[in-house]
Symmetry: C2
Subunit: 208 residues, 2 copies
């Protein structure tokens, strides 16, 4: 199985701009990517990065500057018959080898891990005609795309794979459940979880 991890190199994670400056966003996105690559490797696969531009990565990088959907479909277009392709988003710092193994081992021509708000955080594609569309409610669109080409759809029920980190509120998830580079990055920069009278929120203290 090929395991492809898309990564936006320049100006990633814009919805975190309220809490992180541009350099911090790039560093935090890189820490999340490293967590995902580590988890894929520990699950027994050799990940590749599908990047928007060249960057210094510890694994093979394919550069494709198209938007996500086009770039991933470019990979699917060129995949070898009989070789499944997994697409695992880079912003899943809670991903564990166990959760990924459940994804990789679930039966189906296509297997999807739903993400919060209708997204598709991870996919395994074993059907030659299936193509992705990450725009909008992609989980629903991927279900319809399976029906359109006669592909069976499996799903993996995972909180860890369902938790993509896009917004400041998502940092709570990393602080409470993360165990890798992204968690350490936030800890080192003074982020913490505060649970007062109301809802749980993320605080930041200057550690210096």
């Amino acid at each position: 199985m090929r395991v492809v991890v898309p990564h936006r190199v320049a100006d990633p994670k814009t919805r975190l701009a309220e809490r992180l400056d541009p350099d911090e966003r790039a560093a935090f996105a890189r820490a999340m990517l490293d967590d995902v690559l580590d988890a894929v490797e520990t699950a027994g696969h050799d990940p590749e990065v599908l990047a928007t531009e060249p960057f210094d990565a510890p694994v093979p990088v394919t550069v494709d500057d198209r938007p996500l959907t086009g770039a991933v479909n470019g990979v699917l277009d060129e995949s070898l018959p009989g070789t499944p392709v997994a697409v695992v988003m880079a912003d899943l710092p809670l991903a564990t080898p166990d959760a990924l193994s459940r994804l990789f081992e679930t039966a189906g021509d296509v297997v999807a891990a739903p993400g919060r708000g209708g997204g598709t955080n991870a996919l395994v594609v074993r059907h030659p005609e299936f193509r992705v569309d990450y725009h909008g409610a992609s989980f629903r669109d991927h279900r319809r795309a399976c029906e359109a080409v006669g592909a069976t759809l499996g799903t993996v029920d995972s909180y860890r794979l369902g938790t993509d980190v896009d917004e400041p509120a998502d940092l709570v998830e990393v602080l409470l459940h993360g165990e890798g580079a992204a968690r350490r990055w936030l800890d080192a920069r003074g982020f913490d979880v505060e649970a007062g009278e109301g809802r749980v929120r993320v605080t930041r203290d200057d550690p210096g």
Copy 2:
């Protein structure tokens, strides 16, 4: 194993008030409860409801008008030695028998299903000294409570159990992934998912 489902009878789900009137919130909360009870039964257990006041339920009801933490700890105080107690929140309309079976079968003196934002959406308690505290970041507090009494903590990695429905944005999850009474309730009242240029959102058409 006892399986207890706490249910707030009067004025439930206040954070949905923006989209549902009080009668609708009560009916929707009841539909979610019914989905959870069905899933527990299909998983092979006899659920009980722990309710804030008497109401017409298809399963045994214990009434305790204390806030959630006190009421659940009342159940734990009176549980029989050697009989595990599971506590499954009533606002988990995506819960499936499979997801609940994974919860019930996971090893640990205490087993928790994390919920979005630091919550604890479902628990199995097999340790006589463990007590709950649902206030604030309860998952972290429950982890600490396990350490304090020397209980091992298992976790179950489930998107379905991790998805509690509190806010309007959560309705997207029910519309996309629900299969039971809560999903049908929303469908019948004209709720739908709209995925335009921006983020996925919930719409409502007057079906009449």
